[in-house]
Symmetry: C2
Subunit: 350 residues, 2 copies
């Protein structure tokens, strides 16, 4: 390193893309914090959560640049910063080449961070979070009943947060209710901890016929999209979860995974244990190299079809109750879940 | 071939997927015909349009099977068939593994079928077709004016068809108006006829800043999706075409292509000629191997960003005028286009 250069000049001399990536990681850290944070905490979180090794001093230079571009602002007397509206927008728009791998990256990151312990029923579980208007939340819960009754969900464990409360680092905005459902990535995460790599291929709509899963009617690969397929299918009104619940015909959100065929016996044991913990979600398990629901499977792989965790929310949207859903949006401790039936004030069907 | 087997038994002995594919191709032929057609015409069209070589007799056996499953019905005294509602549904749902390549396949098929002659200004041009409710069509045309004025379109040539009329093999349903815009695949097709292969990579939303194209904010690869990206972005209300038209800030539909770097001089000549014929659509042309709008480009390739042909329709949807859009949905003769300005009864800005 040239000793005559200040760290800032060193920074600028770096490859532009690298700087851009560091900047975005800092914005992500700021976005996830409710209170202003300083360079020390940011540097630690960059290392722990993003594997980015920056000195506190380098973080401070980044922050000065971000301040200049109105993407962060200095709040406390020391170097505590918060993200600005512009910073949040930048985060949403920037670096689509990073974002395109984004859906698959999000899956892998969340799977890695899942540390749900099957024996002690503790640890963090990945969730999808949907936001409803406060006055529409009760009708939404009622509209979901048939989807839960027909088991078109990953789990009937849910987590509800009200305005001002925090859920997985997100503060619920005024006038809204956050509704978190268990995300099927909990299965990737639990298998991963047991040494089974699960390959997430695509999200799609799966057609049911006579109450049985039949075939995928649309699909979007996780590696080829910057948008979460479930969010797209819900927003484009391509589901008919309520119809499937009612008469066994229609389309639900599902996704397609593969595991190595050799790991199937262990995977089946873990899936059974998850079921005991109230987490289902596995709709179909195939055989080595055999197609399931008309989908070809890699050689020496076993295909699996998972329920989409957002199916109950999709059924509410089908009843014209608007919801803003964020698939795979964070982690919630297992202990903070409650049963959907209890939350909705309904009797659980036997 | 075993002489003791009837052709039908031969059929059944074939690989199931092959039979399924033939069946779907027959349904597609039936779906594109307004009047009942017989096995002779079907066999000819299967060969010409899908490269499937089936005898008339084999087609007849397929038709009998389709009749049995209520997907086609015999209309005329001979073997003339029409597709049924169930057949249309089957076509929409079946064989998603075929459909996933579908967006890219549709692009390649339409590009091949484009035979627009730049010198005589004749031949077929690929279009996107949008359907509006009859009484909302005038407000829709008005809402599109700013997008056309700001050149956020492939061409201001449009083709309008009223209920009962036919447009590119589709009969316009009662109470609706069909509005066809030139699809940017016309450029793929014209380059292809000149021996330049154009690789269509993805559809996305491109952010404008200070009236200039800046960066992609979302993208879906054509090879990884069974759904057309433009249709998704419009349905999910992810565009702000009117904002870009008005103040140069916002997101429009765009798509990303590559051509071999060596073909650039010829491509530029053809693009200039297309412009003279009223077809623009090329927003950015890069340099060999150089990123454009933050998108990396293959070695020895030149990247190109094209306007989405559906941008004017997106701007109408942004004004809350509903439209059902079908990107890349057929071909229309160049002679049947008219100017948007004439159709809307507006004076073309100079």
């Amino acid at each position: 390193m040239n000793k005559n250069l200040t760290p800032r000049m060193n920074l600028i001399k770096q490859d532009g893309r690298e700087v851009e990536r560091e900047k975005l990681a800092i914005l992500r850290v700021l976005a996830s914090c409710q209170t202003p944070v300083g360079s020390k905490i940011i540097a630690r979180r960059l290392k722990n959560e993003y594997g980015i090794d920056l000195s506190e001093r380098a973080v401070r230079y980044h922050l000065i640049l971000l301040d200049e571009r109105n993407m962060s602002c200095k709040i406390s007397r020391r170097d505590g910063r918060s993200i600005t509206q512009l910073g949040l927008e930048e985060l949403g728009n920037a670096m689509v080449t990073d974002k395109v791998g984004f859906v698959i990256d999000k899956i892998e990151r969340l799977a890695y961070m899942t540390d749900f312990d099957l024996d002690n029923l503790s640890g963090m579980v990945p969730v999808n979070i949907s936001f409803f208007a406060k006055d529409q939340f009760k009708p939404a819960l009622r509209a979901m009943a048939q989807a839960y009754k027909a088991n078109l969900c990953v789990s009937d464990l849910v987590c509800i947060a009200h305005e001002g409360d925090k859920i997985s680092d997100i503060t619920v905005p005024e006038g809204q209710v956050a509704f978190a459902t268990v995300c099927s990535i909990v299965i990737n995460g639990t298998l991963l901890k047991a040494g089974i790599p699960m390959d997430s291929r695509f999200g799609g709509t799966l057609q049911f016929h006579q109450h049985k899963p039949w075939r995928f009617t649309d699909m979007i690969y996780y590696t080829g999209s910057s948008l979460d397929p479930s969010e797209i299918f819900i927003a484009s009104r391509m589901t008919s979860v309520s119809e499937v619940a009612r008469r066994g015909e229609g389309k639900v959100l599902c996704n397609f995974r593969e595991i190595p065929a050799v790991s199937l016996p262990l995977a089946e044991k873990i899936i059974a244990k998850l079921k005991n913990a109230g987490i289902n979600g596995v709709l179909v398990i195939g055989e080595a190299g055999k197609s399931i629901c008309e989908m070809p499977v890699g050689l020496n792989k076993v295909g699996m079809i998972m329920m989409g965790g957002l199916n109950p929310v999709a059924s509410a949207v089908e009843s014209n109750i608007p919801a803003a859903s964020h698939a795979m949006s964070g982690l919630v401790p297992y202990s903070s879940f409650t049963s959907y039936w209890e939350a909705a004030g309904l009797k659980k069907p036997v």
